[in-house]
């Protein structure tokens, strides 16, 4: 459990196949009723990624499992160990008796939090419990029951359970030690409020481009994720009155029944603004070689930023087949359409 006095925020949202959203939000500090009502509307902002998940799910059954960020306080902000330091979104998508449901949570906490443990509770217990509750109530009461009430109660139970779980120290899971291969690098810079994001990957005619495309949702989707979520997290923090905190993507995990894809990122801030380097990683396979574990990649990214290493050389060291001289811009609709047309083409 969280230490007394710790800052936290916790939201749990459930959406069913008719895109109906049920929510429950908990905060460590009091807000007025009006403010809480306004906060309820953020579920629609957060459902953006869920809708994306839904579209992807229909095609390739990809779903977003979680997005993890660290929080950076403003320079003059008073910092202590009860202050929120991490902000994470976890999503469970399930298909039962032919329809898809999503259960989505965001967690702001002073701890890094054991995400695997929280995700297990979300995906294996809270989400099935809502779905099963509905099925049983339908069977027992036919139409003569209040489904809204049932979902709200289950969500309340779920959020209580998640709150109880918060404050756990993180364990190292096998996932961290598995071997992964880099299939793309994303460089994001922010200077004077302007965001510049580029993706680097295999050449268009390199067969590895298509191999990697089979292992990820799409280059387009993977490319827009970090900017999208970072912006979304910052907006949410503002809504919660956390104006002095900024989020930085650490890890995004997506999966489908057969595959997993990770995005990991490190950042540095200086007088020039903020620079982030991120890697799109897939579990090593026979075709995309040059694989290492997550510790290696994290260290490598840190080195690139802290020692200001030559970007092109570092990218080649990560995967010699990635072309560090051809950037795919991620900031305009036109350039994103270009990625869809060329990088995401299966031809």
């Amino acid at each position: 459990m969280l230490r007394k006095g710790s800052e936290f925020l916790l939201g749990l949202f459930f959406s069913d196949d008719q895109t109906i959203v049920y929510d429950n939000i908990k905060l460590s500090h009091d807000l007025s009723k009006e403010a809480i009502r306004e906060l309820k509307s953020i579920s629609f902002k957060f459902l953006g990624p869920l809708f994306m998940t839904r579209n992807l799910y229909k095609q390739k059954q990809w779903k977003i499992d979680y997005i993890e960020t660290s929080l950076t306080p403003q320079l003059r902000m008073k910092v202590d160990d009860t202050l929120m330091q991490s902000f994470t979104c976890l999503n469970s998508t399930r298909k039962t008796a032919g329809y898809i449901t999503n259960l989505f949570t965001f967690i702001g906490s002073p701890y890094t939090e054991d995400l695997t443990m929280i995700y297990e509770r979300l995906d294996k217990f809270i989400h099935p419990s809502i779905i099963q509750g509905k099925i049983i109530a339908q069977k027992i009461h036919d139409t003569d029951f209040d489904f809204n009430l049932l979902v709200e109660e289950e969500i309340e139970r779920g959020i209580d359970l998640l709150e109880h779980t918060l404050g756990s120290s993180r364990k190292i899971y096998w996932e961290e030690k598995m071997a992964y291969s880099t299939v793309a690098v994303i460089k994001r810079t922010k200077k004077d409020g302007l965001l510049e994001s580029d993706l680097y990957t295999f050449d268009l005619d390199d067969p590895l481009r298509k191999e990697a495309l089979n292992c990820i949702p799409s280059y387009y989707f993977m490319g827009i994720l970090p900017d999208y979520y970072e912006k979304m997290m910052n907006e949410t923090l503002r809504l919660f009155g956390k104006d002095g905190l900024y989020s930085n993507i650490i890890k995004i995990k997506m999966s489908n029944p057969d595959m997993v894809v990770l995005y990991i990122e490190e950042f540095i801030t200086n007088e020039d603004g903020k620079t982030s380097y991120g890697l799109i990683l897939i579990p090593s396979n026979n075709k995309v070689k040059e694989s290492r574990d997550l510790f290696f990649y994290k260290k490598k990214l840190r080195n690139m930023l802290d020692k200001n290493k030559n970007f092109e050389r570092a990218v080649i060291e990560l995967n010699s087949r990635i072309n560090p001289f051809q950037n795919w811009n991620l900031n305009s609709d036109e350039s994103l359409q270009n990625i869809e047309r060329s990088l995401d083409s299966k031809l």
Binding site: K124, Q132, I135, I136, E153, D160
Partner: protein
């Protein structure tokens, strides 16, 4: 594979147990095989009596998978006792804010995976209420009240139905586990709490301190009465049921316990209030007090049954539904 995993967590020495079993087998040659196994289990501090254990074994023996022996099930019953001891240690050390959190967390940590494993011992088409009953028996402490197997099965039949859609059995295992384990976990949870909080509505007060206490919402009742006053059309029984259901469900929460005295007055005044609000000007002869009094008399008739009874929200909904429905039907008929 699963057995290895559970052996690591809750190891039982099958060799030693088997030699104990053989000893009992040699000792009681005049007993039949089920009675011998029941005696063996009873000697292992399992179950409240040998006849009851025999009855349970006989019943569940018919549900075992093809390659599973009765002794395999018996060993799992012994393991269940071990899991119970482990979980009890955990619940005593944990600081749960409310019983419902304890219930969900304990099921997730100790029973969810075990349920998957245990189901492998039984036929795929074993009914969910039978699993609920099985959990109520195998995790039941020896010193607790004796169990009536048939009564338990009957009681669970309505509450835990198996659900089959397109010939596929839909998993409702969390519901099955909650029904099967809630009583045991509740008792263990409150056992470690100070006496003064055992009998108050602990969950409700702590689950969300900022929550406003719930009120009855009878807008459907009000609408129904209004509709009748304007149209004078006969109201379908189902519409009454829906309105009463909404009224009761708006107040009672699933999984939370209520005492009758906690809500009696609120229920009478709210229900009468909504009925009164639904009446149009043609019915000026009715006052809110008259409706309240009539309802009070109706409730008074059954009050004895409910006095000092502490039930879950869901149970109150079921118990109060016919009383309120009867009242409102009579009320509309006399309008």
């Amino acid at each position: 594979m699963e057995e290895i995993q559970f052996n690591k967590l809750y190891n039982i020495d099958k060799e030693r147990l088997y030699s104990n079993f053989q000893r009992i087998q040699n000792q009681f040659k005049d007993l039949n095989s089920t009675e011998i196994i029941a005696t063996f289990l009873y000697n292992q501090s399992i179950g409240t009596s040998i006849p009851l254990i025999s009855e349970v074994l006989t019943y569940f023996q018919h549900n075992l998978s093809k390659d599973v022996e009765l002794l395999d099930f018996v060993f799992e019953w012994i393991r269940a006792n071990k899991i119970r001891l482990e979980y009890k240690k955990y619940i005593n050390l944990s600081d749960y804010k409310a019983y419902t959190i304890a219930l969900d967390d304990i099921i997730f940590l100790f029973f969810l995976k075990y349920d998957e494993y245990l189901r492998l011992l039984f036929r795929e088409n074993m009914e969910e209420y039978e699993f609920t009953t099985l959990y109520q028996i195998i995790f039941n402490p020896k010193q607790s009240n004796p169990i009536n197997l048939i009564e338990l099965l009957e009681r669970n039949k309505a509450k835990v139905p198996s659900i089959i859609i397109n010939e596929e059995k839909i998993s409702i295992k969390i519901h099955t586990l909650r029904e099967g384990l809630s009583e045991m976990i509740r008792n263990d949870y409150y056992e470690g709490k100070p006496a003064d909080i055992k009998f108050i509505n602990y969950e409700k007060k702590t689950s969300n301190e900022n929550a406003i206490e719930k009120d009855f919402d009878g807008t459907m009742v009000e609408r129904l009465i209004k509709f009748y006053c304007f149209q004078k059309r006969e109201i379908d029984k189902k519409e009454f049921t829906l309105a009463i259901n909404q009224f009761l469900s708006s107040y009672f929460q699933y999984g939370i316990f209520y005492n009758f005295n906690e809500f009696k007055e609120k229920l009478i005044s709210s229900f009468a209030d909504y009925i009164y609000s639904g009446l149009t000007q043609n019915y000026e002869n009715y006052s809110i007090e008259t409706i309240q009094n009539e309802l009070f008399l109706e409730i008074n008739e059954v009050e004895k049954k409910f006095l000092n009874v502490r039930l879950k929200g869901k149970a109150w909904i079921e118990d109060l539904k016919p009383i309120l429905q009867n009242f409102i039907e009579k009320f509309v008929n006399q309008l």
